[in-house]
Amino acid sequence: MESQFLQLALSLDLLAFMAVIGLHLVKSTKYTVRLYALQSVAVAAVLVILGMAKDEQGLVAIGMITFFAKVIIAPLLFSRLVHRFGNLVASASYLSTPATLAVLLGLIVFAASSVFDPLWSIAAVTPDVFVFNIAMVLIAIFLLINRQGALAQIIAILALENSIVLFALFIGVKQTLALELGIIFDIVIWMVIAYAFLRLVYRQFGSLDTREMRQLIED
């Protein structure tokens, strides 16, 4: 029974990985928000499944709170923003799609390289799953670097946080319920502040394209 749960969790991990890859490929902000929601669904489901498999009610509760915060609240906030500012919410990348794909491939190869071999000993899963999770973290960091839009950068940070949560789950690190709640509380506050900043940026720069932020250089 437990191995079936684990198989399901691993499939969801793969889904989250595909969602992060997808975040690099989509150009529309609407789909960027949806892919983030999809990755968050996978994270919440993994939390619930692992909680059920190990009979840990705390983990199940965290999964549900994660679902509420990241799958309902965050996409709702960001969709409102997209709806309000429309096409002005830039989602373009610095690199072209082929170049982006080449970098993604490089990151996956790097994640599978011997550099991270010493960490395999701490993984509670097989090495290939571990490689997926390391690669997901690296790809999320690259998403932040490669995106020009402020909203896309916010989503990249949140996707990175999701990737780290999955990484932690698969290396078997657990935290007490209070600490998990602390981390989620931090992230929720972060989302609200980021949302407020997006509105502030739009009001002052007339765009959510970070390339428009050139006041400091001119200053």
């Binding site: 950068q153 690190v173 657990k174 935290q175 600490l179 981390i183 940026v201 932020m213 400091l216 200053d219």
Partner: protein, 482 residues
């Protein structure tokens, strides 16, 4: 005692939130009273620690020598900044720049910022430290963009994004460390992890430490992870810049040092962690020294000087031995001197309404107290004798000779370049004619008192180190020698 110390700022923020914005005087009184209580408790904590006793609040709150030292730094700078903020904001309200609502908002965020910093250093749990350091980012983002100008918003945006990225990498490192060292149940605490560090894979520890250094190093402002620092420190209101430069950078360094301690025990030597710290420290000192020459803004200049000094501090810790003591002392003197300089920069801004170097001259004439103190503060910061920073810089350099005499030679040249750069700009600011339309004289009394007290404290500490503090510093050194 510890619980009170940590939660007083939180309760003050709550009080300010509940009071109507027009009750500014009550809020100000609450903030000053809270700062006084925190300082008194911090002094009490360090005395208890120096006497060889433990200070414990709850299961998650307990402090040792290093934490008590950091708490003292936060309380000291926090006290002067709180006092100064009252005078600074009253002047801004008087000029019609901000209203009572913004004043209340400022104090709420300031108290939350202090609360997060106290929590970060007072907890025994590395995850709570991470949560608290992340919370400092959240509390300060709106303080940096306080003036609602596009430049301030841009600086705050950079700060939010880069620090969040850095801290997430720091979280990754923390989780890897916990997986390697601690029990994975979530009850991991610093001391237990150090104790269990002797039996693990060195290669895995190295990877984890690199994540930690990149992650928290971003918040420390180490080059090349520093891009946010000059913008955020120069665009924030001056009291906040004082806290950011004087304390927050040290709080982030605290997390690096905690993990360094565990990593050194696991690796059996401090060669790896020390080497990395020396490398990033040198990079920071070198970049900051040369970039100072092209700066057009005196607050940015101070911000780059913070990068240089944080570089020197991490070099000290990287070298170990005498370098550790020098690093700790440098932390203390830099925190006080830089806070004083940023508060003085606030006084300059209140008088000249500009942070651009080209718009400021004749400081000594225009600001009879702040002008000379700013001049003296810059000399102090540059490491001119007989001020204490001269001694700590010399100690770091002498500790470095055993590591590499050539490197010390190069560092000496760079520090001289830095001194020349700072001296050139401060003479330009201090002398020359006062621009037309600039009135002479200081602003509010409360913008003068804290800088006078800070200067006096720096002078006293340059020549006399209280026994309690001396004992605590020696104890921290022992920890890192273990």
């Amino acid at each position: 005692m510890l619980l009170t110390l940590v939660f007083v700022p939180f309760l003050t923020a709550l009080l300010a939130f509940l009071l109507p914005a027009k009750k500014t005087r009550f809020i100000e009184a609450g903030v000053i009273m809270a700062a006084g209580i925190e300082l008194a408790l911090a002094v009490r904590c360090i005395s208890v620690i120096a006497a060889g006793n433990l200070v414990r609040g709850t299961a998650s709150l307990a402090i040792d020598s290093l934490s008590s030292f950091l708490i003292l730094l936060i309380a000291l700078v926090g006290f002067f900044v709180s006092l100064y903020s009252v005078g600074y904001l009253r002047t801004e309200v008087g000029k019609g720049i901000i209203g009572p609502r913004r004043v209340r908002q400022f104090f709420i965020l300031l108290e939350l910022f202090l609360f997060a910093m106290y929590l970060a250093v007072a907890t025994v749990n590395p995850i709570i430290t991470w949560i608290a350091i992340e919370a400092t980012t959240l509390a300060t983002a709106f303080l940096i963009s306080f003036y609602n100008k596009p430049t301030a918003t841009e600086a705050a945006w950079k700060y939010l994004i880069l620090n969040s990225l850095g801290l997430l990498i720091g979280l990754l490192g923390t989780l890897v460390f916990i997986a390697i060292l601690g029990d994975r149940s979530g009850a991991a605490i610093w001391s237990e992890m150090v104790a269990s560090a002797g039996t693990v894979s060195p290669a895995a520890i190295k990877i984890a430490f690199v994540f930690i250094l990149i992650g928290y190093g971003t918040k420390v402002g180490l080059v090349p992870l520093h891009a946010w620092l000059p913008d955020a420190h120069s665009k924030a209101p001056s009291p906040i810049s004082a806290l950011l430069s004087g304390v927050l950078l040290n709080v982030a360094l605290f997390a690096v040092l905690r993990w360094k301690e565990a990593a050194d025990v696991a690796l059996g030597s401090d060669q790896f962690t020390g080497g990395l710290l020396i490398f990033f420290g040198l990079l920071s000192v070198f970049l900051a020294a040369f970039i100072i020459f092209v700066q057009q803004n005196y607050k940015r200049l101070l911000a780059y000087s913070s990068i240089e000094h944080m570089g020197l501090i991490v070099i000290g810790f990287g070298l170990g031995g005498v370098g550790t003591i020098a690093g700790l002392l440098h932390m203390l003197y830099h925190a006080l001197a830089k806070s004083m300089l940023f508060l003085l920069a606030g006084n300059i801004f209140l008088r000249y309404s500009s942070t651009k170097l080209k718009n400021v001259s004749g400081l000594i004439e225009a600001l009879p107290l702040s002008g000379p103190l700013f001049f003296a503060g810059i000399l102090m910061l540059s490491g001119l004798p007989p001020f204490a920073i001269f001694m700590t810089k010399s100690l770091i350099l002498s500790a470095g000779i055993a590591f590499s005499p050539w490197l010390v030679g190069a560092l000496l040249i760079v520090l001289s370049v830095m001194f020349f750069g700072l001296f050139r700009f401060v003479t330009k600011l201090a002398y020359g004619p006062v621009p037309e339309g600039i009135e002479q004289g200081e602003a509010h009394f409360l913008t003068q008192l804290p800088v006078i007290l800070l200067f006096a404290l720096l002078l006293v500490l340059s020549w006399y180190m209280p026994e309690t503090l001396d004992t605590v510093l020696a104890s921290i050194r022992e920890t890192f020698l273990r």
